[in-house]
């Protein structure tokens, strides 16, 4: 059973990794993390154990731990798993979403469109993550949301790099607009299909060799 201190350390690490503060390859030094999080060394160690079991960080013999580098092949594999789970969440969101949540979703899409129009790739990338979070909340399916969250965390870097490809944000926005439309229309089948189409296009893009390189 995780202590509150351990959970706090886990959360802090997840946030830092997902925000790119601790990029792939970043060395996790227990003493530094104790200072960063304010919890005990053993809580930090246990938090690292949990994240290592998930594949977010890895232990290196005699050198501690580091944020794991996710290869292009793995990113594809992880996205393949995300596809059906996000589809489930989209379906449930379409069934359970409230009017207020629909309004917030539409407002968020508006913000995303503005980010793409102004070419703010960094912002757009963050907004995508938030969108999926809003869908997961509307779905009211904590087990699926938890699973997907852990998969998403490992894809942050790849998602960002994908958004840097010329023309990609516009394509992505199209896919996510279709998703928001389907959920707002409360059409579960269409919502699930929209996810499959969008993440299918992400998988296809990740599978293409690209000048900026495949591996993180």
């Amino acid at each position: 059973m995780a202590s509150a201190a351990q959970e706090m350390a886990e959360r802090a690490l997840r946030v830092a990794i997902s925000r790119g503060d601790m990029p792939p390859g970043y060395r996790l030094v227990e003493a530094e993390l104790v200072t960063l999080t304010g919890v005990s060394r053993s809580a930090v160690r246990q938090a690292i154990d949990v994240l290592a079991a998930e594949g977010l960080v890895e232990r290196i013999p005699n050198k501690g731990a580091r944020v794991r580098i996710v290869s292009a092949e793995e990113a594809i594999e992880i996205t393949e798993c995300r596809l059906p789970l996000e589809g489930l969440l989209a379906r449930k969101a379409a069934e359970r979403i409230t009017d207020a949540e629909v309004d917030r979703l539409r407002a968020h899409l508006h913000t995303m469109t503005a980010a793409v129009d102004s070419g703010d790739v960094q912002k757009y990338s963050q907004l995508i993550q938030q969108l999926y979070g809003m869908v997961a909340e509307a779905a009211r399916h904590p087990i699926a949301a938890d699973m997907v969250g852990r998969l998403q965390a490992q894809l942050v870097r790849h998602q960002f790099r994908l958004s840097l490809r010329p023309g990609r944000p516009r394509v992505s926005l199209g896919g996510l607009t279709a998703l928001v439309d389907a959920i707002s229309a409360r059409d579960p089948e269409r919502a699930e299909a929209a996810v499959a189409a969008h993440l299918g296009s992400v998988i296809a893009a990740l599978s293409e060799p690209h000048p900026s390189g495949g591996a993180a």
Binding site: M1, E74, E77, I78, E80, C81, L83, P84, L85, G87, L88, H141, P142, I143, A144, M147, L151
Partner: protein
């Protein structure tokens, strides 16, 4: 590592003892010999399974990671109560992931590699006919394992394995209902047929349909966990 006293000298210890205790306890939970909410006391478990208290504790640790048992601070360990709502939520996740795995298995299927799936199905048919439900249950798990091997999607496999552990009691209890085993066999046969014929779309929908049957049956059960 435990100090051998005269009293515990007859008890098994080590990795073998831990595995034995794991299997015995899992089976007792699945069969309902030990029920949700029931407290699990290490020395008692040890005595019952013929292993040391330490081996019983290690077995409990494993079942805790699987979600079958939980530790309550200052109270001890007990069999987790999994509500119907939680069971359905877990099954919904499995449903979509099994769909992915069936699709991939169909894409990778070759004549040689699907033989084991068919053989397993035959054994399931025999166990079902003989009403050997524990055996049938184990063969269903074997079916899923074979499918995962064929699919070669390690990430999805790991996710499903995590989910599987939480559901064993519910799935087994459902099999006890009249007609359930027969329906289960029919559903899994459709999955295997689609995989053998390399029909990826059909394999995915057959896998989902099979889990939908389980979810529907679960929802028909009275409210007890």
């Amino acid at each position: 590592m435990a100090h051998t006293t005269g009293e515990s000298a007859h008890l098994l210890r080590g990795a073998h003892a831990k595995r034995l205790a794991e299997q015995r306890l899992r089976e007792e939970i699945v069969r309902g010999v030990v029920v949700p909410g029931q407290w699990l006391v290490e020395p008692e478990l040890g005595e019952r399974y013929g292993v040391t208290r330490n081996s019983a504790r290690l077995a409990l640790d494993v079942l805790i990671t699987e979600g079958l048992v939980e530790r309550i601070p200052n109270r001890g360990a007990r069999v987790r109560v999994v509500s119907t709502a939680e069971a359905v939520a877990v099954l919904e996740c499995r449903q979509v992931l099994d769909g992915l795995l069936a699709r991939k298995a169909a894409q990778h299927a070759t004549a040689g590699r699907t033989d084991s799936l068919r053989d397993n199905l035959r054994r399931m048919r025999r166990a079902g006919a003989e009403q050997e439900l524990l055996e049938y249950s184990a063969l269903v798990r074997e079916h899923h394992r074979l499918l995962r091997e064929l699919a070669s999607q390690p990430r999805a496999s790991a996710l499903v394995e995590q989910l599987e552990g939480r559901m064993v009691r519910h799935e087994f209890q459902l099999l006890l209902r009249p007609g359930q085993a027969r329906q289960s066999l029919a559903g899994l046969t459709r999955v295997v047929d689609a995989v053998v014929e390399r029909a990826a779309d059909r394999a995915e929908s057959a896998a989902r349909a099979h889990l939908q049957d389980v979810i529907d049956a679960l929802l028909l059960e009275p409210a007890a966990a």
